[in-house]
């Protein structure tokens, strides 16, 4: 099935332009906010200042371009609500990315480490860690990501295990939220929400319907919607123009491909 007329390199250039041009000349396309993003936003709004939430970066470096904006929007909202944040990660590559995002936003919002937020770092065996957090955070993570003893951090004075954590948010590009639901949610009853890459939405929509997940934001479109609710323009909003133009470019390609195909068939 050789390409009838267009050489594939022409397609590549066309697609790159379809993505690059809207970045250079933003249009500002804005879609409506979906029910699940609005529900997630209401969930964070319902938490009181000073409440502690746990954010786990369960994603790989390769998909940060899509999952990073989702994480940024959610953390931005949490910090605006003056929630206290404890960070962890169950995928080795996500660890450094999560720490860098949290510390960047923390300095922007004048949040002090140890007081308003802390980062526990990476655990390879995630099931054991999820169950351990149900017994005692300090026993499961004696040292935090910066190698300091966890007891010395004031944030852990009042926070002993899931009982004092109001919400767990798994920032994931694969199936980790399923284990959070089964082990943390199922056994300890702590509410679980998830920030996902778009491809995982079909996998976890059933969990939202059955209330095993209390909130779900997915893909760059989800990040753009969340930024709209927060009244900020971030990578999500900027991305919407490029996404739309890229999708349209591919649709035009498919139509052109079929047109050439039919003209070729009618001739033979």
């Amino acid at each position: 099935m050789k390409l009838p007329a267009l050489d594939r390199r022409a397609l590549y250039v066309l697609l790159f332009l379809a993505v690059a041009l809207p970045l250079l000349f933003p249009i500002g396309l804005v879609g409506s906010v979906s029910k699940s993003t609005r529900q997630f936003h209401r969930l964070i709004e319902s938490l009181q200042p000073g409440d502690v939430i746990l954010i786990s970066f369960d994603c790989e470096a390769a998909s940060w371009a899509e999952i990073g904006p989702v994480a940024r929007a959610v953390i931005l909202h949490a910090m605006k609500r003056d929630l206290r944040i404890v960070g962890t990660s169950f995928l080795s590559e996500g660890t450094a990315l999560g720490y860098r995002l949290l510390s960047e936003l923390a300095t922007e919002h004048g949040k002090s480490y140890g007081e308003d937020w802390a980062y526990l770092g990476f655990r390879p065996q995630y099931v054991a860690a999820m169950l351990g957090l149900g017994e005692s955070i300090i026993r499961e993570y004696p040292k935090d990501y910066l190698e300091q003893p966890a007891e010395s951090l004031p944030i852990f004075a009042g926070v002993q295990s899931y009982r004092q954590i109001k919400l767990v948010i798994s920032i994931a590009d694969d199936s980790m939220p399923q284990y959070w639901v089964e082990y943390a949610g199922g056994r300890h009853g702590v509410p679980i929400a998830a920030g996902l890459s778009a491809v995982m939405l079909t996998t976890f929509t059933p969990y939202l319907d059955s209330h095993q997940l209390v909130g779900l934001v997915s893909g760059l479109k989800g990040a753009a919607e969340y930024e709209q609710l927060l009244g900020v323009t971030g990578a999500g909003t900027r991305g919407m123009d490029a996404q739309s133009s890229a999708h349209l470019a591919i649709i035009v390609l498919v139509v052109v491909g079929n047109a050439i195909y039919f003209r070729g068939r009618r001739k033979s």
């Binding site: 390199r9 590549y12 970045l23 899509e66 990073g68 390879p124 491809v199 893909g219 990578a235 999708h247």
Partner: protein, 198 residues
């Protein structure tokens, strides 16, 4: 990121993208560096997070179970020796056997019974029937020991339509994730590196 780091990352990105034009020495060099680094990364993380805490440290403390683990590791490494290579079949057997035993109840529940339960929704509606019809006709498509004749062929064909809807939806659905990856790289190249974004 500091200035040199941005330049190095940008050059690596362009080296990989050069493959889109065609396979060339620059891409090949970048590929070999990436593969070498990734093998190094995995070996370091594995040694530090599994082999040292699970085998080396307990063994030095004299824990008997650690010697069993050490034996399994050495049996695996007999693979490198031409003659004794067959000994590595023992740890392989452990992994294959344990894997089979563990997967039977797990896969049966995750893939068969819970999928069937999800079809029988407590409040059946139009979607429930469309869904049930889809599962049943797809199962007919996966029927191997009966020739495709008459009514059965019709049912299997409807199953094929459902499969095509699934593949079309998955394809269309995943395009958004893939485009956002290119978006991320473009923002890095045009913004962070060249600084020409608004």
């Amino acid at each position: 990121m500091s200035e040199p780091a941005i330049w190095i990352s940008a050059l690596c990105t362009l080296a990989i993208y050069s493959f889109l034009y065609r396979d060339n020495p620059v891409y090949r060099a970048a590929e070999q560096i990436l593969v070498g680094l990734s093998v190094g990364y995995l070996v370091v993380i594995t040694v530090r997070s599994t082999l040292i805490p699970r085998v080396w440290t307990p063994a030095t403390d004299g824990n008997p179970w650690a010697f069993v683990a050490a034996a399994l590791v050495l049996l695996m490494w007999t693979r490198l020796h031409p003659k004794a290579g067959w000994l590595s079949r023992l740890p392989l057997a452990l992994v294959v056997g344990a894997g089979a035993g563990l997967s039977i109840p797990a896969l049966l529940k995750a893939r068969v019974t819970s999928q069937m339960a999800a079809v029988l929704t407590p409040t059946p509606d139009f979607n429930t029937f469309v869904g049930a019809l889809g599962v049943i006709t797809t199962l007919a498509y996966f029927h191997f020991t009966r020739p495709r004749t008459g009514v059965f062929d019709g049912v299997a064909r409807v199953g094929t339509w459902y499969l095509m809807i699934f593949f079309g939806a998955t394809f269309g659905f995943t395009i958004m994730s893939r485009i956002s990856l290119l978006l991320g790289r473009s923002e890095f190249l045009l913004g962070t590196w060249l600084g020409i974004l608004p």
